[in-house]
């Protein structure tokens, strides 16, 4: 049995966005690993299984959709929770992400504190913790993206 701390894999080709998200999650006490593209993400997943993947969808080379499909098609990695993180927030995008196997979907710009809380829930409660992301999405769709950021 491994005692290594569970880690969150942040996948995004935008270095600024990836680093800022990783920096915040690290500040919250999570162990974070970064990948700049789908290929690197798949490689890291096979080397050491992450607890959660925050996956940008549109990336050069193997994009988030394809990387998720490959991860979900492999019996050894299919149970990893993949959360799609994208600025493309129209309804079809969420459908495509879920078809690719993403377990949840979060639209940019997001409330970082709420996302950190939700990721914490997922780490503790596994798939049951995803309900926190659904609640976050509902709040964002009702109040407009990012409005809760001021409350943090």
């Amino acid at each position: 049995m491994t005692t290594a701390k569970p880690y969150i894999l942040v996948v995004d080709d935008s270095s600024d966005g990836r680093e800022m998200l990783a920096q915040y999650l690290t500040f919250r006490g999570f162990f974070v690993v970064e990948a700049a593209n789908g290929e690197t993400a798949i490689d890291l997943v096979h080397k050491r299984r992450p607890a959660v993947i925050l996956m940008d969808l549109q990336m050069p080379g193997i994009g988030g959709w394809d990387a998720t499909r490959q991860i979900k098609a492999n019996p050894a990695t299919k149970d990893i929770i993949v959360i799609a993180v994208t600025a493309r927030a129209l309804a079809p995008e969420e459908g495509i992400a879920r078809q690719a196997g993403c377990d949840a979907f979060i639209a940019k710009p997001f409330d970082i504190t709420a996302l950190g809380d939700a990721v914490g829930e997922v780490l503790v409660r596994g798939r049951h913790g995803l309900v926190a992301l659904d609640q976050l999405n509902q709040i964002q769709s009702q109040t407009g993206n990012g409005k809760r950021s001021d409350a943090t």
Partner: protein, 366 residues
């Protein structure tokens, strides 16, 4: 009777129309027009003229529907409205010419009917052509707006994350997080600038004025130095002949030059140099942006290909910047070129006319 004449002389009329379509210098006729459009229209015209002589006049709807198909087909082949109108004009002329040659007496009533049919056909074809064109533009605009929204949300998200981190007070504003925030804000500014340029060009809003190039580059330098700093790149602006001037819309020209500069900053390695220079040659001014991106491997000479190849490394930005910049420069009677420096970098060139005759043309500059 005109309808009998059209039926009897169908082949000569078609041949004459085809000659006209083939011979006309502009707009060019398509094979489809020659093969299908003309015979179909003649059949319908003949039928219309025949039924005009019966107690139940022919409905204009049929000829209109067919003309609409014709307009749709021509639009699909890339033809413009002028070509559609010319098609019908050529058919009318061919009928008249052959009728005169054959000494056919055409009554005033028949001419009225012929003109009415042509009016209907032209109106329907042009309407359909314009409808599809507008629909197509609308789809492109939606896609473009979607891209803009996507890019804005992405950058805004990064800016908010950086702001959130800075607000905690655990990192200094002049550190890497502050740099990310600054870079994000500048990217948002560039997006707004590009969008503004695009809107101004679409609305045909231009305010041209005589712009001394040295002053113009000094203003560009103020903002671009900030951008270069955020990428850890050094910007050098070569000395410019103070007599150089261009007649341009300051916002559009600045947007185009800034676009090339930002692209150069993005792909030049940290610690590298970007040079901006303005040269004069043969009544033209060349704004050159030289970077240290390492050059394009396959030596592409098309600026769009070069942009696309570099964009593969870093997709941040809309990727629409160059097309907007080129559109702006072409409106100024210029163009954007690209020069590859294998193993070193790229030079993107904006070439515009030197300011008018009231401006003294410098000698031996550049």
């Amino acid at each position: 009777m005109l309808h009998e004449f059209i039926t009897s002389y169908r082949d000569p009329i078609i041949a004459r129309t085809r000659e006209k379509l083939t011979d006309r210098p502009w707009p060019l006729a398509s094979t489809s027009e020659l093969e299908h459009g003309v015979p179909l229209f003649l059949t319908q015209l003949s039928e219309t003229l025949r039924l005009e002589t019966t107690p139940t006049p022919f409905s204009q709807k049929r000829i209109g529907a067919s003309a609409a198909n014709h307009g749709r087909e021509l639009r699909a082949l890339g033809f413009n409205i002028s070509q559609v109108v010319h098609d019908y004009g050529d058919i009318c002329q061919a009928i008249t010419e052959v009728a005169v040659e054959q000494h056919l007496p055409i009554t005033t009533e028949e001419f009225h009917t012929l003109n009415r049919c042509l009016d209907t056909a032209i109106a329907e074809a042009v309407t359909e052509h314009a409808r599809i064109t507008a629909e197509s533009r609308s789809t492109e605009e939606i896609e473009r707006s979607g891209q803009l929204a996507h890019e804005t949300r992405d950058i805004l998200n990064t800016a908010l994350l950086a702001f959130h981190t800075l607000k905690r007070g655990t990192v200094a504003i002049n550190g890497s997080t502050g740099t990310v925030l600054g870079r994000s804000l500048m990217s948002l500014r560039d997006l707004v600038d590009n969008t503004l340029s695009d809107i101004r060009m679409a609305a045909n809003i231009q305010r041209r004025e005589r712009m001394p190039v040295a002053d113009f580059l000094s203003e560009i330098a103020i903002v671009s130095n900030l951008h270069a700093d955020s990428r850890a790149v050094q910007l050098t602006i070569d000395q410019v002949d103070p007599r150089l001037a261009v007649n341009a819309d300051p916002q559009l020209l600045a947007s185009a030059v800034t676009n090339l500069l930002n692209n150069a900053f993005k792909y030049t390695h940290a610690g590298g140099h970007v040079v901006l220079r303005a040269l004069h040659e043969n009544g033209r001014v060349r704004f050159e942006v030289e970077d240290e991106c390492g050059g394009i491997p396959d030596g592409a000479d098309d600026p769009f290909k070069a942009f696309a190849q570099r964009r593969h490394k870093d997709r941040t930005g809309l990727g629409l910047g160059l097309s907007i910049a080129r559109k702006a420069i072409r409106m100024h009677g210029g163009d954007i070129y690209f020069r590859n420096l294998p193993g070193k970098g790229c030079v993107f060139v904006i070439d515009v006319p030197l300011a008018g005759e009231d401006t003294p043309v410098p000698q031996n500059v550049g």
